[in-house]
């Protein structure tokens, strides 16, 4: 098992290098002079020269890449053009709201989606199953900001139950935190619930046809135990995979949701950076999110070996 974990961890290195290379090349391959683009329409030649030097664009490309990777390995993501603060510091300042929003969304989605999917599979072909599937397609199709505005319109403007926007840290009081996080996490969950419910239904449906389920039923096992112990546990590998793969889409959703609800997290940081063309921030955040995704999926692969001892690569 340790051999497998070690091999799997080493395999993430080339993938991370590809990500770093792509992120590096986006700036270099874009048409026109990147320094001019970043400086904007009203920049003086001196500004452009300063940005060019700051980004190291006056050096050969290969050298730029090597020195950039060298700094990355030391955890240096560069320095913001406008605030002159290290990108890592900015990420640190904005990490909490994004983390709390993502965690709340994932926990809530899994708690809702896994039972929904399992029940849909158990009652497959009935109206319960069809309702769950329709809700799932809806979750895939309604853009998170559209849903967000509908929720704000209903729960904040009409019913006045929840605040329209903003973020409160759990440190300010757990009740206050949940009142603020409820609508953004709810809007963001729709897609994730759809994704996880669909895969849960499909994998439980498949497992329910297995011989050992028939055996369990034949020996008089209670139906709830058949579903929870025998079916769900054996269906867990694809479910956990999708939870991991869904994180990429979740990150995209977080960026949008933070804009809709004015949450001062990493998503706002990236959107503000786009508007100001603060390229080191954009670059640093794309890297940060991509590496996070790679590491989370590494973690999930390791979880597999615990869930399903048959899996050995």
């Amino acid at each position: 098992m340790w051999m497998f974990i070690g091999r799997r961890a080493v395999a993430t290195i080339p993938v991370m290098l590809v990500v770093a290379f792509v992120v590096f090349m986006i700036l270099r391959l874009s048409p026109g002079d990147p320094a001019t683009v970043i400086a904007g329409d009203y920049a003086s030649p001196a500004d452009i020269a300063r940005i060019r030097a700051q980004l190291g664009l006056d050096q050969p490309v290969a050298l730029q890449f090597v020195s950039w990777i060298g700094r990355l390995v030391q955890g240096d993501l560069g320095i913001s053009i406008f605030s002159n603060l290290p990108v890592t510091t900015l990420i640190g300042q904005r990490l909490e709201p994004t983390l709390m929003l993502s965690l709340t969304t994932v926990v809530f989605s899994v708690l809702v989606a896994v039972p929904l999917g399992a029940v849909a599979a158990w009652k497959s072909g009935t109206w319960i199953d069809r309702t769950v599937m329709v809700v799932a397609v809806l979750g895939f199709s309604v853009p998170v900001f559209v849903l967000g505005y509908f929720l704000v319109y209903g729960f904040s403007l009409e019913l006045k139950w929840l605040p329209v926007q903003g973020y409160k840290s759990p440190a300010d009081g757990i009740g206050l935190f949940f009142r603020h996080i409820a609508l953004p996490a709810g809007a963001l969950s729709a897609f994730y619930i759809a994704l996880v419910a669909r895969i849960t239904r499909a994998s439980v449906l498949e497992v329910l046809e297995e011989d050992y389920i028939r055996t369990a039923r034949a020996k008089g096992q209670v139906e709830s135990k058949v579903l929870l112990v025998h079916a769900l546990r054996n269906a867990s590998v694809p479910i956990v995979t999708v939870i991991g793969l869904g994180i990429a889409a979740l990150i995209g959703g977080v960026v949008i949701t933070e804009s809709v609800f004015n949450i001062p997290g990493l998503g706002r940081l990236v959107v503000d950076a786009i508007l100001k063309r603060d390229y080191p921030i954009i670059q640093g955040l794309i890297l940060f999110f991509s590496f996070l995704y790679i590491l989370l999926n590494l973690l999930i692969d390791i979880v597999y070996t615990v869930l399903d001892p048959r899996i050995r690569y």
Partner: protein, 289 residues
């Protein structure tokens, strides 16, 4: 499951419509898509006025007989903008689907068939998949300048790896088939094997995948526009309309809600159509997802 397998076997002899036979939700999805496509093509004939004409006298008018869906903060007719917005969404969705299928097919066939390239190509695809698609698209658009072409390219690139994976997995399973081994043993040129034996097997899952890429591209376009990194602001896209209207949301919710409903309905129709086609064309995938 068995009836789906048999209908998939007989599909070559029947027209495209029979693909949706017995799938009422799929037929509804197809019908909605026909309406949206017709609206996009016939936009000037549908009681619309110039979608970008400013009319400050008629700012923020409620939906009425004169302005069916109201007007926005510049006095532009929301109905006209919603109808013309279908053109933008469909252009982006269809182009991104077509481009990602073409490139994904080429790269996937090479990766699946040329063994020594497989490892390299797939690591690159893994890397591309690790980058959140929306962020990659945002970075590409913000650096290359906003235009519909940039948006289409920026949306297509993150979609390609999924198509590559799909095509590669089909190629890997088909190349072990006896008829392919037979073709190799009689020295059939590689290009002919790929074209005559492998390509046809990739088509059914690719059609299904194309619908999902189309839905996802329309969704991403609206996200990009909403964040101000999408189609230029003067283009009446549904995402742009919602982005501009959001400041006036409590005052004039129709500016945001109508394009939102149009967008959600269109994406829903494409997704439902994709699910129906998947059940018919790719029963193996239908079992898994």
């Amino acid at each position: 499951m068995t009836e789906q397998t048999s209908s998939a076997g007989s599909r070559r002899r029947s027209g495209p419509w029979s693909l949706l036979a017995g799938h009422p939700i799929g037929i509804i999805g197809a019908a909605v898509m026909i309406v949206v496509v017709a609206a996009a093509i016939l936009a000037p004939l549908l009681g619309t006025s110039d979608p970008i004409a400013l009319n400050p006298v008629n700012r923020l008018k409620h939906p009425s007989e004169l302005f069916w869906l109201g007007t926005d903060m510049y006095g532009r007719d929301v109905w006209s903008r919603v109808v013309y917005g279908a053109r933008v969404s469909l252009t982006v969705g269809v182009s991104a689907a077509a481009l990602s299928v073409v490139f994904g097919l080429l790269i996937g066939m090479v990766a699946g068939y040329v063994r020594w390239l497989d490892g390299i190509v797939m690591r690159v695809m893994d890397g591309l998949m690790a980058i959140p698609g929306i962020l990659l698209a945002i970075a590409l658009v913000s650096l290359s300048g906003a235009s519909i072409v940039t948006v289409i390219i920026a949306i297509t690139i993150p979609e390609i790896p999924r198509v590559v994976r799909l095509v590669r997995s089909v190629v890997l399973s088909v190349r072990e088939e006896p008829y392919v081994e037979a073709a190799i043993s009689v020295a059939t040129p590689v290009t002919k094997i790929l074209r005559k034996h492998i390509l046809p097997n990739t088509i059914p899952p690719l059609i299904v995948q194309a619908t999902y890429v189309c839905a996802s591209a329309m969704l991403t376009e609206s996200f990009l526009s909403f964040l101000g990194a999408g189609t230029p602001p003067e283009v009446p896209s549904w995402g742009n309309m919602m982005a501009e209207g959001r400041l006036f949301f409590p005052l004039a919710p129709w500016i945001v809600l109508f394009p939102g409903v149009a967008l959600a309905l269109t994406i829903l129709a494409v997704n439902v159509l994709g699910d129906a086609l998947r059940d018919k064309l790719d029963p193996k995938l239908a079992r898994r997802i």
